[in-house]
Amino acid sequence: MFRYSLSRILLFSITLWLLSIFTFALNYWYPGDPLTNMSGVVGEMTTAYQQESINRAMDSTIFRQYGQYIAHLVEGNWGISLSTQEPVFTAMRHHLGASLELIILGSAVAIVLGLPLGTYAALRQRQWQDKLIMTLSLSTYSIPVFWFAQLAILLFAIQLGWSPIAGQIHPLYAIETQTGSILLDIILSDVDYRGAAFINALQHLWLPTLVVALIPLTMLIRMIRSAVLDTLQLNHIKAARVRGLSDTTILFKHVLPTAIQPVLREAGLQFSVLVTNIIIVEVVFNWPGLGGWLVKSIFERDYPVLQGGLLCLAMLILVANFTIDLLHAWRYPQTRDVIDAD
């Protein structure tokens, strides 16, 4: 495990390094002045600009500039936004909290609904339940997320009134933004209408979570179904059945632990699908997360924000993949031996 972790950490670090080079290079590829793109300081004649230019070693070689860029990143100085003049790093933290809220809750919904449904479909293979679940999941997998979100709003928010149209919480509830995640912020705050605010936040939360969870849910169903089908063929399951173990015992103690392995291996792919959906859902539901922030910054040509958001999202994905890899390798030691064999 130790060697494996080490190799993964090495890979992770190298990837982070490559990512930082990429975002650094972006400053030069965006239209406009590279220093403005990096730091958000405008106006070439102002003292602030001169100061920033010295700080970031703009007069020396590109390696020096890169070094300063990394130093600034690590310090937490990610520049200031061109449209609000607020530091990118602080804004990013709040948006990260909001996105994480949706990601975690969406994944939870997908897992809680997907695993049982997929297993059920596998157990009833080729019967009508299986066909129904598979047809539904294939159809839902093909629906464009933004169209589904629109339809969901039309149905649940406008026609039925079960959900508000957009936002994290009703604006009259003044909850201080500490983490960005609305539920956590309500718990951390000390206003006297916490209960009502919490319920209101849940009302705003359920529809976006559902929409975000939908596609990973369908992917999960298909994966677990094929994994369970494969596992059921294995010899030790047949042996267990011969020995007279009950169905539930076989299912929960023998089949599922083995079947989860390929699902866990593919979980990284699911996560990137989740992030794609998050970007779109945040725009549609006006959720104050990283995705919406990133898209708005493209419209406003706010390059420091664009970089900050990109860096944050990419790091999030890399960290998630890294954690999943480690988890997978820790739980299933057999997979660890695959190291660059040639």
Partner: protein, 539 residues
């Protein structure tokens, strides 16, 4: 088809919907859904209607106000004023005991004094003032309206009296002082900020004397204000005022119907009327002196040729645009002045829809095969234009008929305005809302040379003859003479056609049936000082 279902849903909401709020919060709070972010929290720095709506009547007061119905000036921070030197010196007597906001970051030690007024005006008058360059140093209204060159200096006579010394007699001076831009800031706060080394917070964490005070701003999300308990007119009934920023016009309307918004900006009135929005929503109509026009960047060829501009004016079908975009709730504009102005005279339109003539004029100008150009259109609703992007598409199709290829350019609203101010456009669909009842306000900030420098003249048109005519009109004191002069000016403008006037729109406000007292004055931004929510109003 969907009406019965919708009425059922609405009745469900009207009764005991799932969006019930905490009782106290609901009673004392008001949510206004606005169409965009303010550029800053000080209307001195900006002319955008969004900034004015967000800040001016809420955070600040002015020396005097304008009562549109009585057509007189009423006292506000100044309770009395008089003129000397044949109209070249104005003396204002300030009201005693007006308190500034008290917030987490500032506690005033004294009430409003003359030094505050002096500070508020000298900041933009004097280029060497400490605060002149803070947050950009651009004061577009004061430059475009000519106040910068009109006011020689502002001086305090004693702690409650202020004098304004003018360079010449001007009949629009009081009108300009009553606009939403001439707000009074706190000199003490400015001093504190200078000591702390953060002068830019003057316009970002604002302090004023107005009915509401600033609590927080989350970009693209909300602005939160709390009531000013020490307001000199008495604390407002609404304790929590929130601007929920919703750029999409349809979403705003939907939020009004579902109850997430109490009042909305720029409602899509025809859509509301078509779907029987009664009972929970009410729509009121107010008059608004505004004009939407299509401005040509006259500094850029081929728009520097009057022939080309006239050709393009003939090429577009303005009545169809008025019908499609405004759905009949606007008047076709024949000049810069709307019909509500006292200087207005109805004339026949100079540019009927005539593609053949347009092609002929283009040929004369030397463009027989047309050319390519851009149309810049705002992404959000304005008072004068509910959907600039759609209007641009209609124009694009019309232009294609005469061989001109137009592409549509748009950005986020503040970025859009910044780029327009830099003159990056070929043509732009913009407009103007008057700040006061004087016809000068329609012409000077939109077409004069000083306005071209300050960025509000989107046609970038600088014509010395026009400026001279404007000056003569404003120096005259006889209303009939002024009317004649303004007619001559209008004729001249329509000959040169640096911009094509399109329409003058009616202004609407939509709100929940139990909200009262939200004011939408014709020459100003929205006011919530007298707003209140009534309990148990029968549907």
């Amino acid at each position: 088809m969907k009406t019965p279902l919708l009425l059922a849903a609405l009745s469900l909401l009207a009764g005991c919907g799932p969006l019930e709020l905490h009782q106290d919060i609901n009673r004392d709070g008001l949510v206004f859904c606005s169409e965009g972010n303010p550029e800053s929290f000080n209307p001195q720095l900006d002319t955008s209607g969004t900034t004015v709506d967000a800040t001016s009547a809420q955070l600040y007061d002015r020396l005097i106000e304008y009562d549109a119905e009585q057509q007189t000036f009423v006292p506000s921070l100044a309770h009395k004023w008089e003129t000397f030197d044949g109209g070249r010196r104005y003396r204002f007597h300030l009201r005693p005991n007006v308190q500034f906001h008290q917030t987490d970051w500032f506690t005033p030690t004294r009430p409003l004094q003359a030094s505050d007024v002096v500070f508020s005006f000298t900041r933009w008058l004097d280029p060497h003032h400490d605060y002149h360059k803070v947050n950009g140093g651009q004061y577009p209204f004061f430059r475009a309206s000519g106040l910068m060159r009109l006011i020689e200096r502002v001086e305090s006579v004693n702690s409650t009296t202020v004098d304004f010394v003018l360079t010449r007699v001007d009949s629009s001076f009081l009108a300009n002082l009553a606009t939403d831009f001439a707000v009074i800031l706190s000199a003490e706060y400015a001093q504190q900020l200078t000591q702390q080394g953060t002068p830019e917070l003057l316009d970002r964490h604002p302090i004023g004397t107005g009915p509401f005070q600033f609590i927080e701003f989350r970009k693209d999300l909300l602005i939160r204000y709390g009531a000013n308990a020490n307001y000199w007119q008495g604390a407002p009934a609404i304790k929590h005022l929130v601007y929920s920023i919703t750029p999409n016009a349809n979403k705003r309307m939907l939020k009004l119907i579902t109850g997430e918004c109490d009042v909305i900006a720029y409602p899509l009135v025809t859509q509301l009327e078509q779907r029987d929005y009664k009972p929970p929503v009410k729509v009121t109509q107010t008059s608004s002196p505004n004009i939407a026009f299509w401005a040509f960047n006259t500094e850029r060829p081929p728009f520097d040729q009057a022939l080309v501009r006239q050709a393009l004016a003939h090429a577009i079908n303005r009545p169809a645009i008025v019908q499609t975009i405004y759905n009949g709730q606007a008047q076709l504009a024949t000049g810069m002045l709307p019909s509500t102005s006292w200087a207005y005279q109805p004339t026949a339109t100079d540019y009927p829809y005539d593609p053949k003539r347009a092609r002929e004029l283009l040929r004369q100008a030397g463009y027989p095969n047309g050319f390519a150009m851009t149309i810049w259109a705002a992404p959000i609703q304005r008072v004068y234009n509910p959907n600039a992007l759609r209007m641009a598409e209609l124009i694009q199709a019309d232009l294609a008929q005469i061989g001109v290829t137009a592409s549509i350019v748009s950005y986020e609203w503040n970025t859009f305005r910044q780029r327009l101010a830099r003159g990056e456009h070929d043509t732009a669909l913009v407009g103007w809302v008057a700040d006061n009842a004087d016809p000068d306000n329609f012409l000077r900030p939109t077409l004069s040379c000083s306005a071209a420098r300050s960025g509000t003249n989107r046609a970038l048109w600088c014509d010395a003859d026009f400026d001279q005519q404007l000056l003569s009109a404003i120096q005259s004191t006889d209303p009939q003479d002024r009317q004649r002069r303004y007619q001559a000016i209008e004729t001249y403008v329509m000959q040169q056609v640096p911009l094509v006037p399109i329409a003058s729109s009616l202004r609407f406000q939509a709100h929940q049936h139990n909200i009262f007292g939200v004011e939408l004055p014709p020459y100003g931004g929205i006011r919530f000082v007298n707003a209140r929510r009534a309990e148990h109003v029968p549907l």
